[in-house]
Amino acid sequence: MQMDFKTLFTMILAIFMTSHIALASEDSSSTSGDDLNVIEMELDKAAPPQQPDYAPGAQSQKLDANEDKAEAQNNKLTDFSGLTKLQPFSEISVIQKRFLPKTGRLQFTGAFSTITNNPWFLTMGVSLKAAYYFTEAWGIEGTYTSMTSSQKTSAQELHDNNGVSADSFGFPKNYIGVDAKYTPFYGKMAWLNRKIVPFEHYFTVGGGNTSVSTGGSGPTLHIGTGQNFALSKRFSANWDFSVMNYSAKATDGTVQSFSDLLLTVGMSFFYPEATYR
């Protein structure tokens, strides 16, 4: 009998200890999801006292609608004093998927380009781009831009009044290059508090070759920044500013340094269909 008591005591002790071990293992395993823990913790703070007869598994038993109705009628709250003890959330973490994921996808862009810092020529063109994203932040992009120019009034006046041709200043005819694309900013904008537009802000740096109206061409350093506005999961609108810095032969045979500020506005198509988590 004495041995039976010892056995019983040992079993109770074992159950008590193992239940603690089991709870501890739950806690340690859940630390991996910090965001969820924060939300749950805050929810627990504000939650009203739990009903003792409530069990999570009881949902399966509430299949009968009449039973639910009866329970609702019986469950009349009369004590609201607990509401005064509610505390505001001190921190809420919101986890949301990206509206326009890019990882492993190709982005094809068609855009209109114009050079904004040339006082002598109105230079406009078309840009075709193709980008591949290794991650949401990093990608690589190839660009081909073809441009055409016409003289501005100032160039005509310089020629007519002062006898100097602005052609010697030159303008780019086409550019081909490759950029590394880094997208550290992700955000959302609300249009007049009515519609949300997800967007991202990116930076590009790379190089290529520019052909100039003077007949020469030269290796080009290309640095840019821009924004991409998601219209759907496949289409986006975008703009960017980029600087093309290059040296090429001028009309008089000397090598000149050119620095053009290019504004590009276009639309993009993403392929393949996005896969979601």
Binding site: M3, T10, R98, T116, P119, E157, N162, K188, W191, N193
Partner: protein, 259 residues
């Protein structure tokens, strides 16, 4: 002895079995299995009859004043110094509309092209043009209206979050040259990045349209010249320069403080 050993072994086995079972139960409580067809396969935004995208706005602008300073660059100015300094002050009528004034002071001197044209090869001779003899822009003062159409937030690699505003602007006022002041208008687009609730960084791109004196003065059949090496003719008086409508694209970058 053997009996005690068997009892000890049985106790150990019971202990091990109970521990194993309880741990299985504890882990089983964490597993939530849901039918795959009931899980969302993509992210969508909800559609409401009366959509309100921004609640508890972090940056409140309504009824507040904003002062700012910026550096501007006249990207398409051919002859004169393209740099300028600007100051602005606005009153936000509400979250979307702001009204204010801006003042810009041009730097003196010539642009890169203006310097190059001092001495350029012509047809069989060198051409010298001194554009400091022409009237240069001095300052701009305008009444400016800002329409804050977009308000949002952006995060830097999930490490920091800040708000931003995208706005359109329409301005009207005067552009003062050395000879006289001309009426002008400007339209633009820009963004403000709110670093704090008071301080923001801003950039905007504006296109100015105003009458302006043409610096390309022709000395042919005229008693004056821009050529400083021509000892027979003097620099033209400012009233000798003709005028026309001029478009200038400006890129401004600066900061603003709201109170």
């Amino acid at each position: 002895m053997i009996k005690n050993a068997l009892k000890g072994l049985s106790l150990f086995l019971i202990f091990f079995l109970v521990t194993f079972l309880l741990q299985r139960v504890a882990f089983a409580a964490e597993v939530v299995e849901l039918p795959m067809e009931e899980l969302a396969t993509e992210s969508v935004y909800p559609v409401f009859d009366k959509p309100v995208s921004v609640k508890n706005r972090n940056i409140i602008t309504a009824g507040r004043f904003e002062i700012g300073a910026y550096y501007g660059n006249a990207l398409t100015e051919p002859i004169f110094n393209t740099s300028k300094f600007g100051f602005s002050a606005y009153y936000h009528l509400n979250e979307e509309h702001a009204l204010g004034v801006l003042y810009e002071k041009n730097f003196s001197g010539l642009s890169k092209y203006g310097e190059q044209l001092k001495d350029v090869p012509g047809q069989g001779t060198q051409i010298h043009i001194d554009f400091t003899r022409a009237p240069a822009p001095e300052s701009t003062m305008m009444l400016d209206y800002n329409f804050n159409a977009f308000y949002g937030k952006m995060s830097l690699s999930k490490s920091m979050v800040f708000n931003l505003t995208t706005f359109g602007s329409v301005a009207a006022g005067i552009v003062k040259y050395q000879n006289k002041a001309y009426p002008g208008i400007a339209v633009g687009l820009g963004q403000k990045y709110h670093m704090t609730k008071q301080f923001s960084l801003r950039w905007d791109l504006r296109m100015f349209a105003n009458n302006a004196p043409i610096p390309f003065y022709s000395s042919t059949n005229n008693p004056y010249t821009l050529d400083p090496t021509d000892g027979t003719k003097n620099a033209p008086p400012y009233n000798q320069f003709s005028e026309r409508l001029t478009y200038t694209t400006n890129l401004n970058i600066g900061g603003a403080y709201m109170f």
